[in-house]
């Protein structure tokens, strides 16, 4: 079953571009990454899904319900954490969380306590006295306290130190194991890589690709770095599947895609000092997608 189904969602701001024909779906129990650079349209998509803004065209369903018509019903099951959190002045953390909980008609007090302990959050402080990172923790508790079936995160990790980020990711994974679906928007690819099963890549308001993380990796180049004891002949690397060859003294770097056996054979002929073969990280794959898109457009 699809928890989120987005169909040709479009939002224009006057003449300015918002998002154009965004279509993808998120399956139940999945951690779905939504990546793209700043201003690509991630927040616009998410804010439309939450019916904070209304689409110019297209539609979406969440948990099988219409995103606009059934918005209040949907929101009972959704937890949301934006990148910057702001709360009412003059409230203690616990007051705000209780106020938040009061919207869901169930007892969340033990859950609040548990989450606050995990995140090391002082419930009796005034919110305006909290640091940015601590406010963020309030946001996390606030988004999770009602045990939602779908968690929507819009660039959620800013302001959290690495340790807290890890705790946060652990929390998300635990939720996910309980069957909770997560939509995770980010421009930091390493965190998406760590967490997500599938990703949608958005650029200039359009979805460029929806793919499994593993497939994204498989279909890609491997990074080779070889150090030789004696300088090697450039001719040896005139080889099908090699790209971006760089030779500098005893150091050879290139990207390779294809059957690994012949290339390994060729390397074995060298007088090897050291060798590294690395998976490209998502960052590089991502850049690769973007370049491809741009080149494609130039030709058109």
């Amino acid at each position: 079953m699809n928890v989120i189904e987005i169909n040709g969602l479009t939002k224009h701001y006057g003449k300015a571009r918002g998002i154009e024909d965004v279509t993808f779906s998120v399956k139940e129990g999945e951690i779905f990454g939504f990546i793209g650079p700043n201003g690509a349209g991630k927040s616009t998509t998410i804010r439309t899904l939450l019916s904070l803004i209304y689409p110019t065209g297209g539609s979406a369903t969440i948990l099988g319900m219409d995103m606009i018509k059934d918005a209040p019903e949907i929101k009972k099951q959704v937890g949301y954490l934006p990148s910057e959190v702001f709360y009412y002045d003059n409230m203690k953390v616990i007051d705000l969380l209780n106020y938040s909980a009061s919207f869901y008609k169930k007892d969340c007090s033990s859950r609040i306590k548990e989450l606050a302990e995990r995140l090391d959050l002082d419930l009796n402080k005034k919110i305006e006295d909290l640091s940015f990172g601590n406010k963020k923790k309030v946001g996390i508790v606030q988004g999770l306290l009602h045990s939602p079936k779908l968690i929507i995160l819009d660039e959620p990790t800013s302001g959290l130190d690495p340790l807290m980020q890890q705790t946060f990711f652990d929390l998300l994974k635990e939720e996910n194991e309980k069957g909770v679906t997560i939509l995770f928007s980010s421009h930091i690819l390493s965190e998406v890589q760590k967490l997500c099963d599938r990703v949608a890549i958005i650029k200039d308001g359009k979805i460029v690709k929806v793919e499994k993380i593993s497939t994204l990796r498989e279909n890609n180049y491997k990074k080779f770095h070889i150090e030789t004891k004696t300088p090697a002949d450039q001719e040896m690397f005139n080889f099908e599947g090699i790209k971006d060859l760089e030779m500098e003294g005893n150091s050879i770097r290139f990207l390779f895609k294809g059957d690994l056996n012949p290339i390994m054979g060729r390397i074995a002929e060298l007088d090897i000092g050291n060798v590294w073969i690395e998976e490209p990280d998502l960052e590089e794959i991502f850049m690769h997608y973007y370049e491809k898109e741009d080149q494609g457009r130039e030709h058109v």
């Binding site: 939450l50 904070l52 929101k75 106020y99 869901y104």
Partner: protein, 265 residues
């Protein structure tokens, strides 16, 4: 109910400050009545020498003007100014709160409709106005009874007093519609103060020069206390106008608020 409580708690302090201030203004004004009535007596004696025709031409009922109710209808203009400012600030403030405090992401991702958010806010503001009027009404009545020993028409007194509530309702809805229409309203007070004073000045000016038509442009005129004093009733057409205005403004506030895009901070 939770939202109502939350909003009400937020406006409670300022409501109490406003209520107490309006009560204080009322006490001060009423305590000037004894001086006023002395001066009025000497005027009455002076006017005895004037031809009746002139006084009639002036539409000038000296006894009514120098009575406690005449005095009251004069000072009431200023009390309603204070009340109108309170109501407009309240309306703009409560309806723009999510934008100003950047809490739209918090509130609007909760499982409630925007209509119910608006309703809670309006009810909270409404309660605040009721409190102010209760405080005002009791103070004004008490003061009137203290300073005027000879008694007065309670019907007219309450009619004038109650118009504070109606004027506040109008300005509350003006405030709410302003807040939902201006997408990033931050300067609540300058906008409210400017608007209320503009309407106030239009009313005063139209009174000074006796221009009735100008009065239709200002809510202060709809419940003109001098009119109530002279006719012993509200002006029916203005009453309808006020009612239609409030209903229209509130409905449009709902419509605009539910339809509008809530942007990122």
């Amino acid at each position: 109910m939770n939202m109502y409580r939350h909003e009400f708690k937020n406006v409670l302090k300022s409501t109490l400050i406003w209520t107490l201030s309006i009560m204080a203004i009322t006490i001060f004004f009423f305590s000037m009545y004894p001086t006023f009535s002395e001066e009025a007596e000497s005027l009455k004696r002076m006017l005895e020498g004037f031809p009746d025709a002139l006084l009639q031409a002036l539409n000038f009922n000296i006894t009514a003007f120098t009575s406690i109710l005449g005095f009251y209808s004069y000072i009431f203009v200023y009390i309603s100014l204070a009340g109108a400012i309170q109501a407009m600030v309240l309306g703009t403030g409560i309806a723009s709160r999510e934008i100003r405090e950047k809490t739209a992401d918090f509130l609007l991702t909760k499982p409630v409709t925007r209509q119910s958010i608006m309703t809670s806010k309006l009810l909270a503001a409404f309660t605040a106005i009721i409190i102010t009027n209760a405080g005002y009404l009791s103070t004004a009545y008490l003061m009137a009874v203290i300073v005027e020993t000879e008694g007065f028409s309670q019907g007219i007194f309450f009619m004038i007093s109650l118009s504070l509530f109606f004027i506040q309702l109008i300005f509350l809805s003006v405030g709410v519609i302003t807040a939902v229409l201006i997408s990033r309203l931050k300067a609540v007070l300058p906008v409210s103060l400017g608007t209320v004073f503009a309407f106030f000045v239009i009313n005063m000016f139209s009174k000074s020069i006796g221009d009735e038509k100008m009065g239709y442009f200002t809510p202060f005129h709809y419940f003109d206390s001098m009119y109530i004093l002279q006719h012993e009733t509200y002006n029916p057409s203005n009453m309808i106008l006020a009612f239609v205005l409030v209903v229209l403004l509130i409905i449009s506030s709902y419509v605009v608020y539910t339809k509008k895009d809530i942007h990122t901070i």
